[in-house]
Symmetry: C3
Subunit: 134 residues, 3 copies
């Protein structure tokens, strides 16, 4: 696979602009910034999972994972996870959810950067990821 391939899981709504949810070229896989949108329902605007940080974070993880898998990768291949939060007060809870989610990892966990930015109204977290496949 030396061509660049778009990764578009069937659960995802169409991107709101001319970008891909993920791309793979050779052994490099890049996941675009994902938010906590629930699986797409035809004819409906994208809707984020429930109002809590926990619900949005778990849905965001699921959305990243779907793209990794569409490209033949898994969390084991992820080198870098960028976490964008909107509120420093969410750091501790996000880490708890993060640790639970990745508790089963048997390989070195990805590196991570967490920064606090603005996001569209209603969104509490955004995550993107860079993977290198074997």
């Amino acid at each position: 696979m030396t061509e660049k391939t778009a990764l578009t899981p069937s659960t995802h709504t169409a991107p709101p602009a001319r970008f891909s949810h993920g791309v793979r070229k050779g052994n490099i896989l890049q996941v675009a910034g994902q938010v906590g949108f629930l699986p797409a329902v035809e004819g409906q605007a994208p809707t984020p999972a429930g109002p809590t940080l926990r619900e949005q974070t778990l849905q965001t993880f699921a959305n990243v994972k779907a793209i990794l898998e569409e490209g033949g990768a898994s969390w084991d291949d992820v080198m870098m996870i960028r976490v964008y939060l909107t509120d420093t007060a969410h750091f501790a809870e996000m880490n708890e959810i993060y640790n639970e989610y990745f508790a089963g990892l048997t390989v070195a966990p990805a590196a991570r950067t967490t920064v606090y930015v603005g996001l569209p109204a209603g969104l509490l977290i955004e995550i993107d990821a860079l993977a290198v496949l074997d």
Copy 2:
């Protein structure tokens, strides 16, 4: 090309610190954060394109593209585009400009993350990009 090479298009002002506008090593090309500065004029401080988001965005795209080309790449090779905006109210207009700009792409568009951050006064958008060449 296995050495790391700096990519410095002739249109660009010198970076304001000891970094490169872009670097390439092997098949990996990284473009530094670009803003909407007009082509360099000797003896003048860098000046952003007109005050509108459209002017700044198009100039920023041109600046990224110049670095890609300096490194032997094109938009077709770009895996990830990071867009930094200062105002969530600019999202829809930026997407319009983005879609027009990339309308002619014949390959999978790059992944993208858009977040809202602070930028130096007068700047509305900053973009960086990661490319993987064939």
Copy 3:
């Protein structure tokens, strides 16, 4: 080295969640977001270097460098440095420190993106880095 390896310098406190301070897989090395924490002291919470931007920046560079070296890399291999500041008024001073720190580089300096975000209380700067080894 085609397996993903965690990079954990002995000077570093344990990450506050299930991520690695850095990872290497093949010739790609990713350094997680580093802040200006002083070398770990057992039984003590992580403490940032003195209150000034200079002290925090130099400690942050030292922390990034330790991870690069743990993975067999050096600043010469770094392609991209992401600098997160909290205040646009810090740009000029950070660039001064940056230029002094990298004055001795004999290869093309890394590309860089600098944006202004929120960070946990007391932290003025965060830096992460992507390296490609020979």
